[in-house]
Structure formats: structure tokens, C-alpha cells
């Protein structure tokens, strides 16, 4: 523990203060009430996304609602259950930024899939 704190004392005092590790002797302990609240919220959000299907919403509204409920649920799980909200920014950035690269692959494959669909229509469906 001392070895990790020593090096952070150079430079301006406010940087050193910002870099000082939080006490970790007690680990990640948060009120049970918070977990129960998040649990309830996840239930409600899941019920909402199920209702999107139950009431058979279609088109843009359906996709929009599905994605919104999905992102809210994912955010709650990562922030509270996985304790990301209490981790230092260095870890948060290292873990949450790289998966965004997946969006590039998604965009490329959407383009590709669209093109394949067009070709299949053009060559296989047009003459039948």
C-alpha cells in the first residue's frame, strides 16, 4: 500500500491528492437499500421492454423503446451492481471505451448486409 502512494507525491499538490487511491480495506460496500432499488428498477424496465412486445408496437417506436430500456438496464447493472460508479476514472475509461469500437464493426456489417440483400434481390429474386 505504501509503495503505491509514495510516487504520487511529486508535482502539484492537487494532482497528488487526486491520484491518491481510495481506502480499499473495506472493499465495495454499499447500502443494501440501493441494491434493492436497482433490482426493482431492473424489474420495472424489463417489464416495460416485455410490454413493448406484448402490445406489439412496430417500426421506429418499437426499436427506439427497446434500445432505450436496454441501455438503461445495462447502465444500472454496470454502474451499481458492478460498482463502476465508485471506481477510479482510469479503470472506467480503460474498460468502457474499447467496446465502443464494436460500433464501427456494426456499421460496416450493416452496410455489407444491406448490399448482400440488394444483390440477392437483384440476381435471385428478379427473374422468379
Amino acid at each position: 500500500m505504501t509503495a503505491t502512494t509514495d510516487n504520487t507525491t511529486h508535482g502539484p499538490a492537487h494532482i497528488a491528492a487526486a491520484a491518491r487511491p481510495a481506502a480499499q480495506a473495506h472493499g465495495q460496500q454499499h447500502p443494501i437499500k440501493l441494491y434493492l432499488l436497482v433490482w426493482a428498477l431492473l424489474f420495472v424496465l424489463s417489464a416495460c421492454s416485455y410490454l413493448v412486445d406484448y402490445f406489439d408496437f412496430q417500426g421506429l417506436l418499437r426499436w427506439f423503446l427497446i434500445v432505450v430500456f436496454m441501455l438503461l438496464k445495462a447502465g444500472l447493472i454496470v454502474a451499481v451492481f458492478m460498482h463502476m460508479a465508485w471506481e477510479r476514472l482510469a479503470l472506467v475509461v480503460a474498460i468502457l471505451l474499447p467496446p465502443l469500437a464494436v460500433l464501427v464493426l456494426m456499421a460496416m456489417m450493416a452496410w455489407e448486409g444491406d448490399y448482400t440483400n440488394y444483390l440477392r434481390h437483384f440476381f435471385f429474386m428478379a427473374h422468379s
Binding site: 503505491t4 504520487t8 492537487h14 494532482i15 497528488a16 487526486a18 491520484a19 487511491p21 481510495a22 480499499q24 473495506h26 472493499g27 465495495q28 460496500q29 454499499h30 443494501i32 441494491y35 433490482w39 431492473l42 424489474f43 424489463s46 421492454s49 416485455y50 412486445d53 406484448y54 406489439d56 418499437r62 426499436w63 427497446i66 434500445v67 436496454m70 438496464k73 445495462a74 447493472i77 454496470v78 451492481f81 458492478m82 460498482h83 465508485w86 471506481e87 477510479r88 476514472l89 482510469a90 479503470l91 475509461v93 480503460a94 474498460i95 474499447p98 467496446p99 464494436v102 464493426l105 456494426m106 456489417m109 455489407e112 448486409g113 444491406d114 448482400t116 440483400n117 440477392r120 435471385f124
Partner: protein
């Protein structure tokens, strides 16, 4: 200007400075996370890419096929009391997995509070919900196989439905199964008090700490997280 935004600006700046300082400190960058926790996170990032590849390939085949995609809402409906309820089994599985995440989060709390019996029981509850999830998935698989869904075709529509379904839910179910096994192993160690007596583990011969419960929890919540995306993209889309 009020005092409120100034202080929040200052904490934002010092958080950012802290990040640069952590990364440039010529030593460990993750100062609030032990190596075990950091390695679990890095493993989970790599696993994120695996599941992303499955979901993106599913998107690609679904976009490129000219045959109509089967309706998950109807395929996963169940007859309950003579009434057909759409997607009900998947909804129950979702609630089941969320419940297991809730019990896991509380197990971590009790483990750090050194209340090992409560922590172990909550982990057992988590394992039970996980096993129930795998059981429902087995039911779903056998129902679909019985109806003629195969990786190379099915009676409902586009042939790619079967391969995407078995690949994605199979890989996720495998993750849940592995999680259940590790939950049981760690719950046993917690129940016996191995982390109080610093007993050496059977595999690495290292002394364990209660932090292992939190690391196990990270994996378990990740499995729940992946299900959130599968539920949205595969079952609801």
C-alpha cells in the same frame, strides 16, 4: 454564479487529473482495483467482443436474407390456461436472471461485512436462480428442436434463425453454467470460513480473500448484462 456548479466542476477536473496521473505514474494504473479485479474486468472486455461478434453476425445474416425472419414473439409463446401468451418464457427467464443478480450484489456486501453464512446462502440462492435459468433454456431448446428448428433450417422462415439462436443462446447458457459451478465452489469456501483462516486454495495454493466474492459477482453481473442485449436484439427486435 452559485457555489454548486463550481464545486462539481472542480471534482470533475480533479477526476480527470487523477486519471492522467494514474496512467503516467510508472507503476500500477488501476489504483482502486486489485490485480484480480482488474484481470476479471479485462477478461470481461474480451468476452464483450466475443458476444458482440455473435450479435453482429446475427444482424448481418438477418439483414441480408431475402426470406422473412421468423417472429420470436410467436415462436417463444407458451400456452398457459388455454391462452397463448407471447414471449412469456423469455420474460420469466429475464426476471429470474435479474433476481440472481440482486442476490449476488447482496452476497458481495455481506462477504465484505464478514457475515459469511449470509454471504454463502445468498450465493447459493444466486446459483439456484442460475441453474433454473439453464433449466428453462434447456426446455426452450428441446421445444424448438421438437418443432423442427435446426442450425441449417426451420419451418418458420429464414434458415439463419436456427444457427443464430443456437449459437448465441448456447454460448450464453454455457457462461451461466460455468458461473453456477464457480458460485458453488466459492460459496463452499465462504461457508467454511476459508477466507477468515487464510486457508490455501486447492488450485493456486494462494490464500484467498473475501474480494473473490466481488470478482465472482463481476462475472455474474456480466452474464446478466449480456442477456439484456440478447433479450433486446434477438427476442424483441
Amino acid at each position: 454564479m452559485t457555489a454548486e456548479p463550481t464545486t462539481s466542476d472542480q471534482t470533475q477536473t480533479s477526476k480527470l487529473l487523477g486519471m492522467f496521473s494514474d496512467w503516467s505514474s510508472d507503476q500500477r494504473s488501476f489504483k482502486s482495483a486489485s490485480w484480480g479485479k482488474a484481470m476479471m474486468w479485462i477478461f470481461l472486455v474480451s468476452d464483450t467482443f466475443v458476444f458482440s461478434c455473435f450479435l453482429i453476425s446475427y444482424m448481418t445474416v438477418r439483414m441480408s436474407t431475402t426470406v422473412e425472419w421468423p417472429h420470436p414473439s410467436e415462436i417463444f409463446a407458451l400456452d398457459i390456461g388455454g391462452k397463448k401468451i407471447p414471449l412469456i418464457l423469455i420474460a420469466i427467464m429475464t426476471f429470474d436472471l435479474i433476481t440472481s443478480s440482486g442476490t449476488m450484489a447482496m452476497a458481495v456486501n455481506f462477504a465484505y461485512a464478514r457475515e459469511r453464512r449470509k454471504a454463502a446462502l445468498l450465493m447459493l440462492a444466486t446459483a439456484f436462480f442460475g441453474a433454473a435459468f439453464v433449466g428453462m433454456q434447456a426446455f426452450e431448446w428441446s421445444k424448438l428442436i421438437h418443432e423442427g428448428v435446426r442450425p441449417w433450417g426451420n419451418p418458420f422462415g429464414a434458415a439463419q434463425f436456427g444457427s443464430s439462436f443456437f449459437m448465441i443462446t448456447g454460448f450464453h447458457g454455457f457462461h451461466v453454467s460455468v458461473g453456477v459451478i464457480f458460485l458453488l465452489l466459492i460459496a463452499r469456501a465462504v461457508w467454511r470460513g476459508d477466507y477468515d483462516t487464510a486457508k490455501r486454495g486447492f488450485f493456486t495454493a494462494r490464500k484467498g480473500r473475501y474480494e473473490i466474492v466481488e470478482i465472482m459477482g463481476l462475472y455474474w453481473h456480466f452474464v446478466d448484462l449480456v442477456w439484456v442485449f440478447i433479450f433486446a436484439f434477438f427476442y424483441l427486435w
